[in-house]
Assembly symmetry: C2
Homo-oligomer: 336 residues x 2
């Protein structure tokens, strides 16, 4: 089994990406990683460590500032486009990992790989920590689809439910609809229309959730349009980082420097707990093959986790589950 | 000058609301507060302290669980409906304060007071703290209008700009559009359509802002539809409170109990900084008379601050400014 990795995507590429790949193949002896990007530079980092590592040369790189569609269409020799070519053409390759431009990864997935039958809009589904020990929550969609109809939200719900089930091991993860109130009648046109349709799906739909309860750990999946999901994800990030800065300033001001140091020590544990990256990457659910975007600033451990996450999703047949669920859904929803 | 206060709205009513009114009249000698609600109970709390305090008897109370429109229409002898009657009928009364049900306050304002000419949708505009010392940011709309057209967002922009100018003393507060990216071409249908129209308004429009930068202190006003605004506001609340809980757990676990206590002490300062309620209430901008919703759990200081906030907005002619701006806007936007 192979996973292809865009070795030149992300702030810490190629070093941390290549090292992440080496780490991943050392942890899973059945795995081969295909790295795309400048062959000489990759070989320099690898040295002798080339067991179950393949390289596909690519001279170009797509940056974060480029218009995604143009970049995917024109930069045919970029590490990302080459990675999509490998994913598409090599049957042994089960998924793709990139820390590069989110827009380019999503565009590449749509243009090069395509959608699972029945899914009109693939969705980006990152994982967030919660205040409950080891409990996480997934946000679907978090920004790939900024204008949605209720049908799209139904697809997000079944895809993320299947994904959560694999990642958390729960048979029936709790799926909630992001809304401006918990009562059934609350919402904008989209959520009001979607609520009763979610009730008919073969998932564990538990009703509305307000943004203030996202981190409670009470639900496993939050379904939302990509605009509100993006606001949610980024505000969680923003407040966590804002509070971090305030706590650091407090610690620095502290006249007892030892106390300040101890506070910082405690705080690092807290920060690790709030780190949304340790869980690996955000899959772009609903593509014919697995595509996972990892954080732009991912280090080798995160790159490794993301590669192993792809393996886990493949072995647990995520896409087959999604295909089955969407067929069931179309049966159920149309049958009313 | 008078302000009418719903003495039976909120979790701490009537005690904290009545005490807040007493505090407010003690701080502003030109101010009279009209309290609505059970006269005997209000008098019991007031005792001898009845200077510049008037009471309008109301036997009923609207709770948070009631359907707003029904409650406003049917509970004519409730403290909130009586307060709206006083606001409407008494020319000396310049504004209303309630800590009661947000939905009922908004509905009452629309049904009983009405909109400023040219404003189609009044909007709720709370204040949030930022990581910059003494800098705040306002979110307009934060939930009163969950389905918006670009015209509504333009109104939110001019109203909140005028409001921010009065509250912060800045001549040209920086107004930004909440979006899923900072680049001009980013957004959903609504924000893409709104962006170029905001550029034509007589305000200091500084472009898009992402949810992660809301607390940066770089902008003064964030314009958004009420659904996304509600997600933003509540996720800020939720993460701040979630992190608070985690910090408290860390502090409790600490074997050096003194260190735990010291951490908690530091943390209380931080919590105070993050407290979105200390700035008073959230005005419902665009109503013919000033209506300000204060937090359900407001104590006497917050009630007092909110009453004095109404006085400040009145003295600085907020509504006259909004009327003027909407006339200018209609001239400018139609003239293209």
């Amino acid at each position: 089994m192979k996973v292809v990795v865009d070795a030149f995507g992300g702030d810490n590429a190629p070093l941390e990406v290549v090292e992440g790949a080496v780490l991943a193949v050392s942890k899973n002896k059945k795995l081969t990683v295909v790295l795309t990007g400048d062959e000489n530079k990759i070989k320099d980092i690898l040295g002798e460590r080339n067991e179950r590592i393949e390289i596909v040369d690519a001279k170009d790189v797509i940056s974060n500032n480029e218009a995604p569609t143009l970049a995917i269409r024109q930069k045919k020799d970029s590490s990302l486009v080459r990675a999509f070519d490998v994913l598409k053409d090599d049957d042994k390759v089960v998924g793709l990992v990139s820390a590069g431009s989110t827009g380019a990864v999503l565009t590449g997935a749509i243009l090069k790989i395509g959608r699972i039958k029945g899914i009109s809009r693939p969705a980006l589904c990152p994982i967030l920590p919660t205040i409950k020990n080891d409990k996480t929550v997934m946000i679907c969609d978090s920004g790939a689809n900024v204008d949605c109809k209720s049908e799209h939200l139904l697809h997000f719900a079944i895809m993320a439910s299947a994904y959560s089930s694999i990642m958390t091991g729960q048979k029936e993860p709790k799926v909630a609809l992001l809304n401006n109130g918990t009562e059934e009648h609350k919402g904008n046109e989209l959520t009001k229309e979607t609520y009763p349709l979610l009730q008919k799906l073969p998932i564990n739909f538990v009703g509305n959730v307000e943004a203030r309860d996202v981190m409670s750990g009470d639900v496993d999946v939050i379904v939302t349009d990509g605009f509100a999901g993006n606001v949610l994800l980024k505000s969680v990030e923003g407040v966590a980082s804002g509070m971090s800065k305030l706590i650091k300033m407090e610690a620095k001001k502290n006249v007892f420097s030892m106390l300040g140091a101890l506070m910082m020590g405690k705080f690092k544990g807290l920060k690790a707990k709030m780190d949304i990256n340790k869980y690996g990457g955000a899959p772009f659910l609903g593509c014919k093959k697995l595509v996972v975007k990892t954080h732009g600033s991912a280090n080798r451990e995160i790159v490794c986790n993301t590669i192993l996450q792809v393996v886990k999703l493949h072995e647990n047949k995520l896409n087959e589950q999604i295909e089955k669920l969407v067929l069931e859904m179309n049966g159920e929803v149309n049958a009313e």
